[in-house]
Subunit: 401 residues, 2 copies
């Protein structure tokens, strides 16, 4: 008899009928003698509808009140799901984030889990109940209802599993974690296992399956996270500590980000103050700069390139127009059809030459890359968006993703 | 500078536009230097929609979970209304029932307010905020979210006003309290004042404007309740302590209830056990018996009549079929087109003959009444539903309602 935390996202609880289907899966575990804590998101598109109402009032509604509003979404799902269990003869109780003891801190709409008092959940489990917890939400030290931001229900589930010291199962509408997004590369292979580090890198680079913070908590407390489809019995993917029995791959995953804006500033008079000024101005305007590259100084001048999201194009233009007034020599080029491709693999740490191998693939296939950055277990390239499909296909084939 | 509690019901907050209208009324008070606590219900028909979802799961859904579900309705309205105040430059905070310190006790879906800790509300008022409180809800001593049942938002408003020792204004979609329902008697006059006692009697007899419990709290703590239309500046009605300056009327109000079922059991062998058995069986089957009348015993037999709601017709038939097996002599008559008419007036206590005056009105107009019951300040009659319109019109005219 073990405790299991299962998380079901918005599409899994999109209607009463869908809730009844997932209730069966939970009851299966209960019938096997396991204690189940179910974490659920808001029903289908209900969060979007709530946001729309707030937008009718203000383009930038008070975030404390937005949290108050959005948290009702999960409260609806937990109560309905708990009713379903009771109707089927299984004792159950629903708990909002704060009732489940989830204390948070930080800014409204993007709080972090600060602490969980697990007593209430344990009491109800001891009494034989299926405990249904609202994902995505908690309460801060002022007693305000808070939300955890994007992917917050995953965070709730993994944090609860960490505190209960049990496995965490994330049920979703994909069959598990893939080396490459199957929508981009249809032959993509599902992984049986992926290490926390690789998953965090993939998540932070834009793979949408799991939010980085949730994986980080799993990593920190060594809680295996099982990601699988919300129906049938198709084997999913375990996110767990790297061990040598896991398949040895140089590259585990590849992720791509479209809508990248690449700005190149040529002829910057080479001194540290100038470069600092550029990025300081961008930062003050809340432009999120991703990759930065700089050429070696030549004749006292350097060229600097950086990428950001295409959403920021307006602000970026304002900033560089201001810069032009101060740095008369500079020339500015903006490219807006850029895709960033990143390859991730814990195996890279032991095997050199991955970057070179990708360079060779690009050269053999006439793909021009614009920038390269590397971290311990990942390498990112920016390329022209027209080359994206080709680049992903050949890298995926070469590295057996 | 005073504190005012204003309550707005579901139709007043049915859309963002309607919320903006009531926000103006609140802001008017704020601009005059008053501190305002706004109590709101769920938006329009949102509670009905939540109930429908629960009914998809069960005809009798778990009431604890139903409270969890329904309480989201007010949480949506308070957050949106508070956003509106902030957007218009007025500091504001929304509070759910439990955040506002409302502790309740009793059965789920029909809790009572047990205690209010007013500290949080007072703190926010001191900080100059418009405090928006979710009506209809609170938290019990187990930490479960609870609701107060029908008319619960009125109860929240009056209870808060009692605790803050201030006036309570209930804004609704009628212009105030009428002696007779204007939908039934178009010439009905709006009252300037009505005593707590008369209002409680009218409410408990079925007048839908205010819930009895809310008026009881006003009575207990002597908090004047002002009931008025949610737009314009039409003068409404004060519910307050009876005083001699209030207009002297024998009858203040008249209320009618349709869909009454009248059951007459003739030839009941006269002993206390038999009568007790009849009403005990009805009570065990959860039939809510209203008026009871019994003839004087004759030849060792009595006739008993009672009324109940037509909704209970199925259960009542089952009960009387069982009774027939035990009491062979009895004859049973069921009449289903019965209306109950009640006249209420604190003036009755000092003026005798009101019942007689009504009897005379009925006789003069060929209206046959079937049963009569009296309380200190009310008299109720059951009549054939066909006579309802005529009876209301002539009583209303005669007593200037």
């Amino acid at each position: 008899m073990a405790i299991i935390v299962q998380k079901y996202g918005g599409t899994s609880v999109g209607s009463i009928d869908k809730m009844k289907e997932i209730a069966k899966r939970v009851i299966d575990q209960r019938d096997k003698g396991n204690d189940v804590v179910v974490v659920v998101s808001a029903m289908g598109k209900s969060t979007d509808r709530l946001v729309e109402m707030a937008k009718e009032i203000s383009q930038n509604p008070c975030k404390r009140e937005l949290d108050m509003l959005l948290s009702t979404g999960e409260q609806v799902s937990i109560s309905l799901l708990s009713m379903i269990f009771k109707e089927q003869g299984y004792d159950s109780i629903s708990l909002t984030g704060f009732q489940a003891g989830i204390k948070t801190e930080g800014l409204h709409t993007k709080n972090r889990v600060a602490e969980i008092n697990i007593d209430i959940i344990e009491k109800h489990l001891t009494e034989g109940k299926i405990v249904v917890v609202a994902g995505f939400q908690g309460m801060n030290e002022n007693g305000d209802i808070t939300t955890l931001g994007r992917g917050g229900s995953d965070t709730t589930a993994v944090a609860l599993a960490a505190k209960l010291n049990c496995t965490c199962e994330i049920y979703t509408d994909v069959e598990g974690i893939y080396g490459v997004d199957p929508r981009v590369y249809p032959n993509a292979k599902k992984l049986d296992y992926i290490s926390y580090e690789e998953m965090m890198e993939l998540s932070s680079l834009g793979a949408g399956v799991m939010e980085t913070r949730a994986v980080e908590i799993g990593f920190k407390y060594d809680i295996p996270i099982y990601v699988a489809l919300n129906k049938g019995n198709i084997k999913g993917t375990y996110i767990k500590e790297y061990d040598e029995n896991m398949e040895q791959k140089v590259i585990t995953g590849l992720t791509s980000t479209d809508d990248v804006l690449m700005i190149t500033i040529n002829n910057v008079l080479y001194n540290s103050k100038n470069i600092a000024t550029i990025f300081d101005r961008l930062s003050q305007s809340n432009v999120n700069v991703d990759m930065i590259s700089q050429t070696a100084p030549k004749d006292g001048y350097v060229n600097v390139s950086f990428t950001t999201s295409r959403d920021d194009i307006g602000i970026v233009h304002n900033v560089i127009n201001e810069l032009k007034k101060e740095m008369e020599d500079i020339e500015i080029h903006v490219e807006s059809n850029i895709t960033k491709i990143s390859v991730v693999g814990i195996g890279m740490m032991n095997q050199s030459g991955v970057a070179a191998k990708v360079f060779k693939i690009f050269a053999d296939n006439d793909i021009e890359f614009k920038q390269v950055t590397t971290s311990e277990i990942s390498i990112s390239y920016t390329i022209d968006s027209r080359d994206k499909g080709k680049a992903i296909t050949i890298i995926a084939k070469e590295f057996d993703l």
